[in-house]
């Protein structure tokens, strides 16, 4: 059986599909968060070097992963939108940005809570903190550009171009900041294996998957709002709104 993917590139059909999927992703996100938090705070052992304070990483690391990953997904949707001129791609990019900015902020905030007991400072100008901060600036810039342009078609494309040039720049920013100064502890998860306890890793992975599902659910909710706003003059939206 082949699925006709193009069918769902039309906002009207995607609206219904996203609506049906939101409860599933939302439910999965909620239950995985509960499991992940239980693993993180009750099952995972105390770190012998860092004590209990290390438990911040169960929120911090998934948030930091998501902040970077969402930027890439957003830039990918922007590229698809520019290449194929599909309206839904731009709407997806717009829906992703606030969640990405939120995760960036959470990563910075929880990082400060981790840094205070570990380094004795809320903030240090180390490579990863700094590049995460610049990532937040990039998100803010894109959202400000979208907010400033009233014409949705122009706004879509302008924001997409900015997301693209930002995506090219992100690795350069990362390495420039890294060579500039490095004080952050090295990654605990490496391709060649990990230096973590298995339960700790499990808790972190479960939390990361929960963050994924949360993102998908929230983005679908947001993209449905954007679709309704954009298509408010069409018959099907009037139909939907009357039915609700």
């Amino acid at each position: 059986m082949s699925i006709n993917w193009y069918k769902y590139s039309a906002p009207a059909t995607f609206y219904g599909l996203a609506g049906r999927l939101v409860p599933w992703f939302g439910g999965a996100a909620a239950s995985l968060t509960v499991i992940g938090l239980y693993l993180s705070f009750f099952v995972a052992p105390t770190d012998f070097q860092q004590g209990e304070a290390y438990r911040v990483i169960f929120i911090h690391v998934p948030a930091a992963w998501m902040s970077m990953f969402i930027y890439l997904v957003m830039a990918a949707w922007a590229a698809v939108g520019l290449a194929f001129n599909t309206r839904l791609s731009f709407m997806m990019a717009r829906a992703l940005a606030p969640t990405g900015a939120m995760f960036t902020f959470v990563a910075l905030w929880t990082g400060a809570f981790w840094g205070k007991p570990m380094w004795g400072a809320w903030w240090v100008w180390d490579a990863r903190l700094t590049s995460e901060l610049i990532l937040l600036f990039l998100y803010v810039g894109i959202m400000a550009l979208w907010a400033a342009i009233d014409d949705p078609r122009r706004g879509d494309k302008a924001g997409a171009l900015l997301a693209l040039i930002g995506a090219i720049n992100v690795p350069i920013i990362y390495f420039s900041v890294k060579w500039w100064n490095t004080l952050h502890q090295g990654s605990s998860i490496k391709p060649s294996g990990t230096s973590m306890d298995e339960v700790m890793l499990a808790g972190m992975v479960v939390m990361a998957i929960a963050a994924w599902f949360y993102t998908i659910a929230v983005v679908f909710v947001r993209v449905r709002r954007i679709i309704l706003e954009r298509e408010r003059h069409t018959e099907w939206v009037k139909h939907v709104l009357e039915g609700a």
Binding site: A148, I149, I172, W180
Partner: protein, 222 residues
């Protein structure tokens, strides 16, 4: 094609020569911002020497941002930008020519003023040399990336502030490598590594930025 590029550059240079106030304003802004730092921090030569590379580089990015909103705005207002985009010549060359002209008008004078500021900040001669070299490699990046921002924010309300928000994060690598080169010179480790990276970033910006500026111009003119 080269003829079109040269025409665009010559036209912008001519316009700048007829309106000298514009670029003089940006130069004095640069000098004033740099001169405010000793007033705020104190006149100790050791401290000033330490902060000079960063201060000059940050002031250079701000000075470039100050002049960028006008890059396409005047041509947009009188309609000539639309005519240039309608012409059969590639829009990439138009974007590139505009960025080159911006650098010639606003970047070169910075290079000329920078040594004087270096002396004010008690920089040794070889560090001043590296400072000028890093600005020579780095300010074209500011013009190239800034042109993207200017094209994206063309005709928007509050465009100037918005431009700052969009473009400053993209300037970060240039700032780090540029100021880093002078710092490394002062620390005695040699500036080659930072200057090479700055050069690489310049080449990448030269290849990528004009295409994105051109696309952004088309989006803004729709």
């Amino acid at each position: 094609m080269l003829g079109f590029l040269l025409t665009v550059i010559r036209r912008d240079l001519l316009l700048a020569a007829r309106r000298r106030g514009d670029w003089l304003t940006a130069q004095f802004f640069f000098v004033m911002v740099v001169s405010l730092f000793p007033l705020g921090i104190g006149p100790e030569p050791e401290l000033l020497k330490r902060i000079a590379p960063g201060v000059v580089w940050v002031a250079a990015t701000l000075a470039s941002l100050l002049s960028l909103p006008r890059l396409f705005a005047d041509d947009h207002r009188d309609g000539s930008l639309e005519q240039m985009l309608l012409s059969p010549e590639p829009a990439v060359l138009l974007a590139l020519g505009k960025a080159v002209a911006h650098w010639l008008i606003y970047g070169i004078p910075l290079l000329i003023v920078a040594p004087v500021l270096g002396i004010q900040f008690a920089l040794p001669a070889e560090a001043i040399g590296v400072l000028v070299l890093s600005l020579a490699l780095g300010t074209p990046i500011l013009s190239l990336l800034g042109a993207v921002g200017a094209a994206l924010t063309l005709g928007l309300r509050g465009g100037g502030v918005l431009l700052t928000l969009l473009i400053l994060p993209l300037y970060v690598p240039a700032l780090i490598f540029g100021a880093g080169a002078v710092d490394a010179m002062l620390a005695g480790t040699g500036a080659e590594a930072n200057l090479s990276l700055l050069g690489a970033f310049f080449v990448l910006s030269l290849i990528v930025a004009p295409w994105i500026s051109a696309a952004a111009l088309r989006v803004s003119m729709e």
